[in-house]
């Protein structure tokens, strides 16, 4: 601590007449602290009110201890195991978590309030003032530090030895690269994972891939009622798992007039691919905005809504976006029914499903809105 203007108030610490408080005041002085106001909370010790305060604080601590014991007891003895059946509100196990929270919470609360009451009601009333010494060092100190640093750079002598400087940099920069190089192990070629789904015949020994339900049963036209829809997956091993997260597809059975409207609106590429079978159409479920499954189908408006960000797609117009942040239609899966009566994908999606990315293959002209 700096020696300051209050030097005149220095006391001799070896003076036997000094009380402990006098010594403490000297300590404060050395820390640049002045007492503005400092007195006991209760000027007369031992009054009723002081005793009452003490009792209150003591009671808080005792309650904290009791509730903490309660917490331990609930932990140890409360029947907490899930019974494995549906139960009412009066099942014991349902109350374990609330009881734990209440006992622990109250214990901590009483302990905290006890400490705070002690601080606010029993500690001395005080106001101290301490000098700040911010705003940098003195000019003298800066000069000394400067000289020290310059002397060190002088010792190293980089300025005088340009060859060393360049060589040092040449050594250091590649080392920095070497430090981050192992991260290269994370890099993976996305390959065709963004453009190819589970419906590609490659996943089925070159054979076209059938559509299946979540439970693995293969889909037939009679499984979807008129106006209804079902989520379909590629009928390959693991087709309904997250391994083929981009493959989930919505198979919709349209009403006659809706199907007619859709045929009218069909993009040429889907017409050429004969993508719609009867009144059945299959769209990728992966929203073209950021990839949530767009799965809320409103029959009478023919709208498919993605609940994440409210993009809406018109099912009878190639699932083109009609509202919200999505900018591209949901790709259509060309489907047909084979001789055994099961739906299959005549080919994989014509365009990549899901959200856009920098190097996404561009869309055919006629789809550009």
């Amino acid at each position: 601590m700096s020696e300051n203007k209050k030097d005149s108030e220095r006391v001799d610490l070896n003076d036997p007449k000094l009380t402990r408080f006098d010594i403490y005041k000297e300590a404060l002085r050395k820390d640049d602290i002045e007492i503005l106001h400092y007195e006991p909370r209760f000027p007369t010790p031992g009054t009723k009110e002081e005793k009452r305060m003490e009792r209150i604080v003591a009671m808080m601590f005792v309650l904290a201890g009791l509730f903490a014991l309660g917490f331990v007891a609930v932990m140890a003895f409360w029947p907490w195991e899930y019974p494995g059946e549906v139960t009412g509100w009066d099942a014991w196990f349902k109350w374990q978590t609330p009881m734990l929270g209440i006992t622990l919470g109250l214990s901590l609360a009483f302990f905290g309030i006890g400490i705070l009451t002690w601080a606010k009601k029993l500690l001395p009333v005080e106001e101290f003032v301490q000098d700040r010494h911010d705003g940098g060092s003195s000019m003298e100190d800066r000069k000394l530090a400067e000289a020290t640093i310059y002397n060190m750079t002088e010792d190293i002598g980089l300025k005088r030895r340009p060859l060393l400087k360049k060589a040092f940099l040449f050594g250091a920069a590649p080392l920095g690269l070497a430090a981050v190089a192992p991260l290269g192990g994370l890099i993976k070629d996305p390959g065709d994972s963004l453009t190819k789904t589970g419906f590609h015949p490659d996943h089925n020994d070159g054979q076209p891939v059938r559509l299946m339900n979540m439970d693995g049963s293969q889909l037939r036209p009679d499984m979807v009622s008129v106006g209804g829809q079902v989520t379909a997956f590629p009928a390959i091993p693991g087709g309904a798992t997250n391994k083929y997260a981009n493959s989930s597809t919505l198979l919709i059975h349209l009403r006659d007039d809706d199907a007619a409207e859709l045929r009218e609106n069909l993009y040429p590429m889907y017409r050429d691919a004969d993508a719609v079978w009867g009144n059945f159409v299959a769209y990728s479920k992966i929203c073209t905005h950021v990839g949530c499954p767009a799965s809320l189908y409103e029959q009478h408006t023919h709208r498919l809504l993605c609940p994440c960000h409210q993009s809406q797609f018109n099912v009878v117009d190639n699932a083109a976006p009609v509202f919200g942040p999505a900018a591209r239609h949901l790709p259509m899966l060309p489907i047909s029914v084979d001789e055994e009566g099961y739906f299959y994908a005549t080919q994989d999606y014509l365009i990549p499903v899901g959200p856009a990315y920098w190097n996404r293959p561009s869309l055919p002209e006629e789809v550009e809105e």
Binding site: G112, Y244, S295, P355
Partner: protein, 524 residues
């Protein structure tokens, strides 16, 4: 050998002496114990964040003991009947087991989640306090930057933690994160493959997120928090202007016993609130959501509250996908990546922007009252409004459903509101500041309105004012405004008797009435 008797009274001195011989602790101990701290309720907001962080470390360690960060497939075979036989990842299964089959596991999980929410909420409120009072000005700009960094690391840490249980909601959040990573120009598809170890979701992401969530990010946060608090300690806390308070001193009470006791008690209270909330209010019941499947989502899909503003921006941003023959720039890039970058850098740069705008090079240890800096307060109100509209838009499907409003109307309200309302908020806040400033000056010149109506002999009604100093012949007082609170009610200047204390019995009947009167109850 004579056995020396143990002298309990001298023991502390002996131990202290022994320690000082080795570590020379006497002076630093005295410095720390005597250190003076200013006092104001708003200085405790940052503490809530700090205490929540401690609770997060404690509860997080507990849940980590039972959590398996693996995406290996298992069929659930635990006690929770509705999910028996369902295929899921080990991460989700171990979260279920922690909730159902570990004694006290559920409350620990819920405490971890609640304190995470409290942590980020406290950071936001603390940041508002520092911003609106100008505590970020020189010499504290760097600490403000560290604080903004801490917010964003907490944001990412929270999001990653939310993703770990691998339930339907967290998977949806991950999917959105994937879409955002993919939207980064040039490297999007490769960056996504690097993060997920191939196509989404792959079988690596939970394991990678886990190490980030329990090791890398907490380590960075711990270091930054240590620097953050250490700088507050070294640079000494700012204080409100007031009698005897200058730029060159600190007025308050000492670190020990007062400050330490208040901190300790307050920590217990924050911990208590977290425990109570976690016992009584359910949070993130993952067993109701089911495991993550890429094809499953429901409406009312909301992230944790601190991610909501980003979710809202993504919802209201128009369908603008920029396509050329050579590349595609997805619309999500603007609200999801570019805007987040701006929201990271702009607040960090603000202290220097304000210095440059105000040409203010001075050292500041005294806080501003928000009303005295209308432009800054207006800008803050602007940012806050922007944020709130983002949050509301992030739940606009819930609002639409609950209040029976069209969803598209909600989206349009968000699109228009997020442009118009922040500007309106700026002007309104600015005007309110000026009005408050004017009222301060009025009270200083004319005195406090007493509410007492008088009537002249000639019938004129007027209100009595209580001047704050000796008035001149016009009834005006000549008081300078100097950044302190101006008293505006009569009982602020001692017009009313203090309420008698005592709950069960009146203390007025006490025999030692005068001496027992508490000192300090009528302070300031």
């Amino acid at each position: 050998m004579k056995r020396r008797k143990f002298d309990a009274a001298a023991a502390p001195q002996k131990v202290g002496g022994a320690l000082d011989d080795r570590f020379k602790l006497a002076t630093p101990t005295r410095n720390v114990m005597n250190k003076v701290f200013p006092d104001h309720w708003s200085f405790l907001l940052g503490e809530i964040a700090l205490f929540s962080f401690i609770i997060l470390l404690l509860t997080g360690t507990f849940v980590a003991i039972f959590f398996e960060p693996s995406m290996a497939h298992v069929a659930y075979d635990g006690v929770y009947t509705p999910l028996r036989g369902v295929e899921m990842s080990k991460a989700y299964e171990s979260t279920l087991n922690l909730s159902f089959e570990v004694r006290g596991g559920l409350i620990m999980r819920q405490m971890h989640h609640w304190s995470a929410l409290l942590f980020v909420a406290a950071i936001i409120v603390h940041m508002c306090r520092v911003f609106f009072t100008g505590a970020f000005r020189k010499p504290r700009e760097l600490n403000w930057v560290i604080g903004v960094l801490l917010f964003w690391i907490a944001f990412i840490e929270g999001f990653i933690g939310y993703s770990l249980p691998d339930d339907a909601l967290s998977g949806t959040g991950l999917r959105i994160a994937e879409g955002m990573i993919q939207s980064v120009p040039l490297i999007g598809s490769w960056a996504s493959a690097a993060v997920f170890g191939g196509p989404f979701p792959g079988d690596q992401i939970i394991t990678r997120f886990y190490i980030a969530h329990v090791f890398i990010l907490p380590l960075i946060m711990l270091a930054l928090i240590a620097i953050h608090v250490g700088l507050v300690f070294a640079q000494k806390h700012t204080q409100w202007p007031g009698p005897g308070r200058t730029e060159h001193n600190v007025v308050g009470y000492r670190m020990f016993p007062n400050y330490a006791a208040k901190q300790g008690g307050f920590f217990m209270l924050v911990f208590a609130v977290t425990a109570l909330m976690s016992g009584i209010f359910q949070i993130n019941p993952v067993w109701l959501l089911g495991p993550y499947e890429a094809a499953v989502v429901s409406s009312g899909t909301q992230p944790d509250f601190y991610v909501m503003f980003m979710e809202g921006l993504i919802r209201v941003f128009p369908a603008w996908e920029f396509r050329t023959d050579f590349f595609v720039l997805p619309g999500i890039f603007w609200p999801g990546v570019a805007a987040m970058g701006v929201f990271m850098l702009l607040p960090m740069a603000y202290p220097w922007l304000e210095r440059w705008m105000k040409k203010d090079r001075a050292h500041h240890n005294l806080l501003d009252r928000p009303r005295d800096v209308p432009v800054r307060t207006g800008l803050g109100a602007m940012a806050a409004t922007f944020w709130v509209i983002g949050v509301v838009s992030g739940a606009n499907d819930v609002f639409a459903e609950r209040f029976d409003i069209s969803l598209n109307a909600m989206t349009w309200a968000g699109r228009i509101g997020i442009i118009v309302l922040p500007v309106a908020a700026y002007f309104i806040a600015h005007r309110i500041c000026l009005g408050l400033q004017q009222h301060d000056r009025e009270v200083l010149a004319h005195g406090i309105e007493t509410g007492i109506m008088m009537r002249d002999p000639d019938g004129r009604f007027y209100e009595l004012h209580q001047p704050l100093a000796e008035p001149d012949e016009h009834g005006h007082t000549d008081l300078e405004y100097n950044g302190w609170v101006v008293p505006k009610r009569m009982n602020r200047v001692g017009a009313l008797e203090a309420r008698p204390k005592g709950f069960f019995k009146s203390l007025e009947e006490d025999d030692d009435s005068d001496s027992s009167r508490q000192i300090g109850s009528g302070k300031k």
